[in-house]
């Protein structure tokens, strides 16, 4: 029998998830010395994961990462299978029966919870829901956000919090020509939000924003950034952090906060307040959120490892709209071990483990492997590392039997009446979205349901 990975017997690998981690895993396989066939599964008809439905619509250049993925998808050894949910339409064991290895790159699809009273009151949302909604993700198109109150509160000071705040802060004119979903544009056009509070658990020296993101708040048409100078006082540890040369990014962020604190009142219709050293302890209200209780924190610990501790002193803020943006976690798939504490698949060097023992042939890459940290490109190194481990295991992956690969799975799907979407199909949907956007001078008008996307293919 020919060697696994030779032209006669290519290595068949299934990848679950078509975001950055999935595509970078495919790229690493296709660039290897071996003959490889990749089947990349996606539960939506549309590929690209968070680059399509996470990256903010007003950051179009960042979305150009898609060009890299589209190029990978053109390889003859690559097959996209959209509209297929693993664990429902096809079982993990069926992927194992048809492929030599399975790589999970399915991301972190839910938010972490705050675990405070009132968290589930109407008016309290996760950042994920809002981001998915304004980006036209089918799972979130039907969500309702009541922007009829004057004050919104965002819990968290990372890049997702920055996106959510900025979308709330921008005028409709600033968003009109982006690929924001039409339904979101309409709701945002009627927004009564005047004050947006962006709340950080730690201090201004520890905010996770990048200076680039923060700078955008100083350049908005109808919204001015507001920072209370008193909140910018630093303890000696934070001063030491900022004085360190490694903290160039944090220092730039801090300097922007200082500049914002010195700005004269702008007269702009909206204000975005950056506030520090506070943690929510409860959301109050009868039928919906009316107020948020924030406990003031103080920092303790050595420089670079300071943690926030509650001081016992609280303030209350009137608000009808709260978004929590404190990190994501993964969701389990039947047939794969899950670390519920960390919200990831347990792995060693990218190999999925059960009670510490490696399960042959199962791998993970991206957020489902390491947790929701890093940005698009971080997943490239991560996926390459996982694929390097997979290729080291080549001998063990060869069970001797031939694997049917993509064709075998397609046969299963056809038998089950599951309508899968190939890459040429996606390109038609993509083209149709672009054409729909043209009359409105938008880069595209996304289809926000699977039904609409499939209808394009039937037309």
């Amino acid at each position: 029998m020919a060697q696994l990975g030779s032209e006669q017997r290519p290595l068949a690998v299934a990848i679950v998830g078509s975001g950055p981690a999935g595509f970078y895993a495919a790229e690493a396989l296709l660039k290897s010395e071996l003959a490889v066939k990749v089947s990349l599964f996606e539960r939506l008809p549309a590929p690209y994961g968070l680059v399509r439905s996470g990256v903010a619509p007003d950051h179009p250049k960042l979305k150009q990462a898609i060009k890299v993925y589209a190029r990978i998808a053109e390889s003859d050894d690559f097959h996209f299978l959209g509209n297929v949910t693993i664990g429902r339409d096809v079982l993990v064991e069926e992927l194992q029966a048809t492929h030599h290895a399975v790589v999970f790159a399915c991301g972190a699809q839910t938010d972490r919870r705050l675990g405070i009273p009132g968290e589930d009151l109407p008016g309290s949302h996760t950042a994920t829901e809002f981001v998915g909604w304004y980006n036209g993700h089918p799972d979130y198109r039907a969500r309702r956000f009541d922007l009829s109150c004057e004050t919104a509160v965002i819990i968290g000071q990372g890049n997702v919090a920055a996106d959510v705040s900025r979308i709330l802060a921008k005028s409709v004119d600033e968003l009109r020509h982006t690929d924001i979903a039409q339904h979101a544009l309409e709701v945002l056009a009627a927004s009564k939000i005047r004050d947006i509070y962006v709340i950080g658990r730690r201090g201004p020296a520890q905010a996770k924003f990048t200076s680039k993101e923060l700078k955008e708040f100083g350049e908005l048409q109808d919204c001015a950034p507001v920072v209370d100078a008193e909140e910018l006082a630093l303890n000696p540890e934070s001063e030491a952090e900022l004085a360190d040369k490694r903290s160039a990014g944090n220092k730039k962020v801090y300097e922007l906060f200082v500049a914002y604190s010195k700005r004269a009142a702008s007269g702009k219709a909206r204000r975005c307040h950056f506030s520090f050293l506070k943690s929510p302890t409860a959301l109050l209200g009868r039928e919906r959120v009316a107020r948020i209780v924030l406990e003031k924190n103080r920092l303790a610990g050595a420089a670079f490892s300071q943690a926030a501790h509650g001081s016992g002193e609280s303030i209350e803020l009137e608000t009808g709209l709260v978004f929590r943006s404190i990190g994501y976690q993964g969701v389990p798939i039947a047939g794969v071990p899950f670390d519920a504490g960390r919200g990831v698949f347990p792995t060693v060097d990218g190999r999925i483990t059960d009670e510490g023992a490696v399960i042959p042939g199962l791998y993970a890459a991206g957020w489902i492997k390491r947790g929701p940290t890093g940005i698009i490109g971080t997943n490239r190194a991560d996926s390459r590392a996982t694929i390097a481990a997979l290729l080291q295991d080549l001998a063990a992956l060869d069970g001797g039997a031939d694997k049917g690969g993509t064709a075998a799975v397609c046969q299963l799907l056809q038998q089950r009446g599951v309508r899968y979407v190939g890459f040429p199909d996606w390109k038609r949907i993509d083209q149709s979205e672009i054409e729909r956007g043209r009359p409105k001078a938008k880069p595209r008008e996304k289809y926000t349901s699977t039904r609409e996307m499939l209808a394009v293919l039937d037309a």
């Binding site: 960042l62 990462a65 890299v68 890093g374 490109g377």
Partner: protein, 101 residues
Amino acid sequence: MTTVVTENCKGCRFTDCVTVCPVECFHYDDDMLYIDPEVCIDCSACIPECPVQAIYEEDDLPEELQGWVEINAEKASALPVCEEQMTPLPGAAERQAALGF
């Protein structure tokens, strides 16, 4: 706008930046790395990765480093892509220390 590798990379070439670039826009020669402005998507992920802070957004570029915009564009177009992290150049650690990092 683009992102630019400057002076400090010369003689170091740590290539930490390459591990986070989503689009393979870094190119290299025997001295340093360069960013291809046609490919870079301005995600800025590389900037905090550089151990010697050689990378800037064009808008933040100090006056004396402005010339690097053109050097990056010219060099990158003619040089090979740096696909993954390489061993730093000999003497990189000493140069890093000399630069005060």
